[in-house]
């Protein structure tokens, strides 16, 4: 692997080659993981609901490649992508989504409550607008204990209209917290188009009025997302306070798996897959000769195997026993 990473390149890489490989691996993992979940869900093997992140991979990974394990992120009901981007254990995630005892949360949370505090993942949150206040809390801890950490909130265009989001923006500015609010605008808050629901029709612009720097970037471009995040994270760590990044994305599938998407025209649905963030990334790193094609293909193969293993193991893993029902409600009672 080492040999392949040392190449003559035309432009300086924004990231060391090893990290570019990690970024690709994580984006590919999100894609394969989510596509597999869709299959298994449609086959009736997964309980509850799932909300898939397919098409938005570069947004999550572009942001998270700037973060340490000890930095925190908060996510939404559409949280698998952010979880994988933050480096959470994929097999543990799969088992959690299948509701098994060895899942990341003991089978007690499921898809919408995936968390891994060791990796700084504060959890997927099933309440729209639920994570921004928690994230500014993590930012407050970083500021109070002077860890130099930052906390990042992922919110959709739907959640951007929640009172909790506005309150958190203002609070972060007033208390000068090391936070970053990433609005992943995929055009739809559940089934309502952003143009209708966001009165100002401009999420970043609206956020800027709260008194913090706000930028718009193309969510399908890993490098654009990465660069914008680097700047915001640097600012936050240096005590410069919070920022907003709006990533313009496309959500390839419905709000939830099984959603007939009657609110989207056929033409629109066809256009969606025309820009694939993974294809875009591959194109760029190959053109610039930052990584070689054999490495990328090898990663594809490994990811595929990992996802297959994860699904097979999850399907075979035991469910929690009934005695687990009443545990972990409290530390002590």
């Amino acid at each position: 692997m080492e040999n392949r990473l040392v190449m003559a390149s035309s432009n300086p890489t924004p990231l060391p080659a090893a990290e570019l490989a990690v970024a690709y691996r994580r984006m590919r993992m999100i894609r394969e993981f989510e596509e597999r979940i869709k299959l298994e869900f449609e086959a009736g093997n997964i309980p509850g609901f799932v909300h898939l992140y397919v098409g938005q991979e570069a947004s999550a990974v572009g942001v998270c490649m700037n973060l340490r394990d000890s930095d925190y992120i908060g996510s939404t009901h559409r949280g698998h992508g952010h979880c994988i981007a933050k480096g959470c254990d994929v097999k543990g995630m799969m088992r959690e989504i299948y509701g098994r005892a060895s899942g990341l949360c003991g089978g007690k949370g499921g898809s919408m409550h995936i968390a891994d505090f060791d990796r700084g993942m504060l959890g997927a949150n099933a309440i729209v607008g639920g994570n921004p206040p928690l994230v500014i809390g993590a930012a407050l801890t970083a500021k109070t204990l002077r860890t130099g950490g930052v906390a990042v909130s992922f919110t959709g265009d739907g959640g951007a209209n929640q009172g909790t989001t506005f309150e958190s923006l203002n609070m972060a500015v007033v208390l000068k917290l090391p936070a970053l609010f990433v609005f992943e605008n995929n055009g739809y808050g559940e089934m309502t188009h952003h143009d209708y629901a966001v009165g100002s029709k401009d999420l970043a612009g609206r956020a800027a009025a709260f008194g913090l720097p706000a930028r718009k970037v193309d969510a399908t471009d890993f490098f654009e997302v990465f660069a914008a995040t680097s700047e915001a994270v640097r600012r936050a760590r240096a005590g410069g306070g919070p920022s907003v990044i709006e990533t313009i994305a496309k959500r390839w599938y419905g709000h939830y798996t099984g959603d007939p998407q009657n609110y989207r025209s056929t033409a629109e649905r066809k256009r969606l897959k025309e820009v694939d963030p993974l294809v875009k990334f591959r194109g760029r790193v190959l053109d610039e000769r930052w990584l070689d094609v054999d490495l990328l293909n090898e990663i594809d193969g490994e990811v595929s195997s990992t996802v297959n293993e994860a699904a097979a193991e999850a399907a075979a893993a035991p469910f929690p026993s009934e005695s687990e029902l009443t545990t972990q409600v409290y530390g002590s009672y």
Binding site: Y72, G74, G103, L104, C105, G106, G107, K108, G109, H113, A115, D116, F117, L122, G123, N125, A126, I127, G130, P132, P133, L134, V135, I136, G137, A138, A139, L140, T141, A142, T144, L145, A151, G163, T164, E167, S168, N170, M171, V174, L175, K176, T327, Q328, V329, Y330, G331, S332, Y333
Partner: protein, 338 residues
């Protein structure tokens, strides 16, 4: 040890814990000294919150640990929840429990459930303090109890001190507890004085207090109603009735053992609670007793609560709304008459 007010006792509890553990922080509206300008490092001369409980703390601990916020309860409570999951031990000031409406998601969906949903991987050592209760003509949106709502939620603990000694010990315990605690302070008790040790001490949750011993009737009361029931018990004693007065102190966890010990001895019960009657805490106790003491009781349970109405403003109406000594005595006589 000296005579201190409920308010002072709470202040001491906060002070002790903030000195002992630098992870303890306070957040809320006006809890410091007010802000007279935009300058973050120039707190004003104010006296520690609308209710004065946090007086003097910002001067001792500074703005990094006594955080004054804009009026954004969701953000305040949510921020404190997130901070609790990530290494701090925040005490959030909700000011009036009636404001829970604008931050209830953070309380019952986030703080209460994170430990469980995440399979025990996170703890939420959060305290939310709020004032409760009527009797100050504060009208419908500033006078409620609402402890029943919190008690109902798995994952939350609920403490309701009825006097200054309990207030200090329970708040210290709440701050040291690794679970989210809703700490409810009755407005009508802030001035009440009792002997309170100068040193820090903690009262375990789930331990009821038996204020009076008696063989004739068990009176269960919460918060300020404990003080009112005490007066009623004196009157009852002069009528030859010996009351055993039990204060649960925490509604969640609940000390069922002490309550049932008393009930199985006296076999007559009066429950006094300032909340509204439907699905209230009095009803919860009544159900527990009815189930566990089936066949033992000598008389039907007597419940003395507020009526099924919002809290009225006019003093005559508010007086009629609240349980009082007379109503409690009537219930005691009723239960003894059988």
């Amino acid at each position: 040890m000296s005579l201190k007010s409920y308010r002072q006792a709470l202040n001491e509890a906060l002070r002790h814990e903030m000195r002992r553990d630098e992870r303890v922080i306070l957040a809320g509206i006006d809890i410091g000294a007010g802000h007279t300008s935009a300058a973050e490092d120039a707190p004003g001369d104010g006296g520690g919150g609308v209710l004065g409980v946090t007086s003097g703390l910002i001067q001792e601990f500074g703005i990094a640990r006594v955080i004054e916020t804009p009026i954004s309860e969701s953000a305040i409570i949510g921020m404190c929840t997130g901070a609790a999951c990530t290494g701090l031990r925040p005490v959030a000031d909700l000011m009036f429990v009636d404001f829970l409406g604008v931050c209830f998601d953070q309380i019952f969906n986030q703080a209460a459930k994170l430990r469980y949903m995440f399979g025990g991987k996170v703890k939420v050592p959060l305290v939310i303090r709020a004032s409760i209760g009527a009797g100050m003509n504060a009208a419908a949106q500033h006078s409620q109890m609402l402890h029943a709502l919190f008690t109902h939620i798995p994952g939350l603990k609920v403490a309701m001190p009825s006097g200054a000694y309990d207030a200090k010990g329970l708040l210290i315990q709440a701050i040291r507890d690794d679970d989210p605690v809703i700490f409810l302070e009755h407005k009508g008790l802030y001035e009440m004085r009792e002997d309170v040790p100068d040193e820090p001490y903690s009262i375990p949750f789930g331990e009821a207090n038996v204020l009076l011993d008696g063989d004739d009737v068990t009176v269960l009361a919460t918060s300020k109603m404990v003080q009112v029931a005490k007066l009623a018990a004196e009157t009852a004693r002069s009528e030859g009735i010996e009351v055993e007065l039990v204060d649960p102190r925490t509604t969640s966890p609940l000390d069922e053992e002490t309550i049932m010990d008393s009930v199985s001895r006296t076999r007559r019960v009066v429950i006094v609670d300032e909340g509204n009657p439907r699905c209230g805490f009095a009803a919860d106790l009544a159900a527990m007793i009815a189930i566990r003491a089936h066949g033992l009781l000598r008389a039907p349970l007597q419940l003395v609560t507020a009526p099924h109405t919002p809290v009225p403003f006019s003093p005559t109406l508010e007086k009629a709304y609240l349980p009082n000594e007379g109503k409690i005595c009537a219930a005691i006589r009723q239960v003894m008459a059988v």
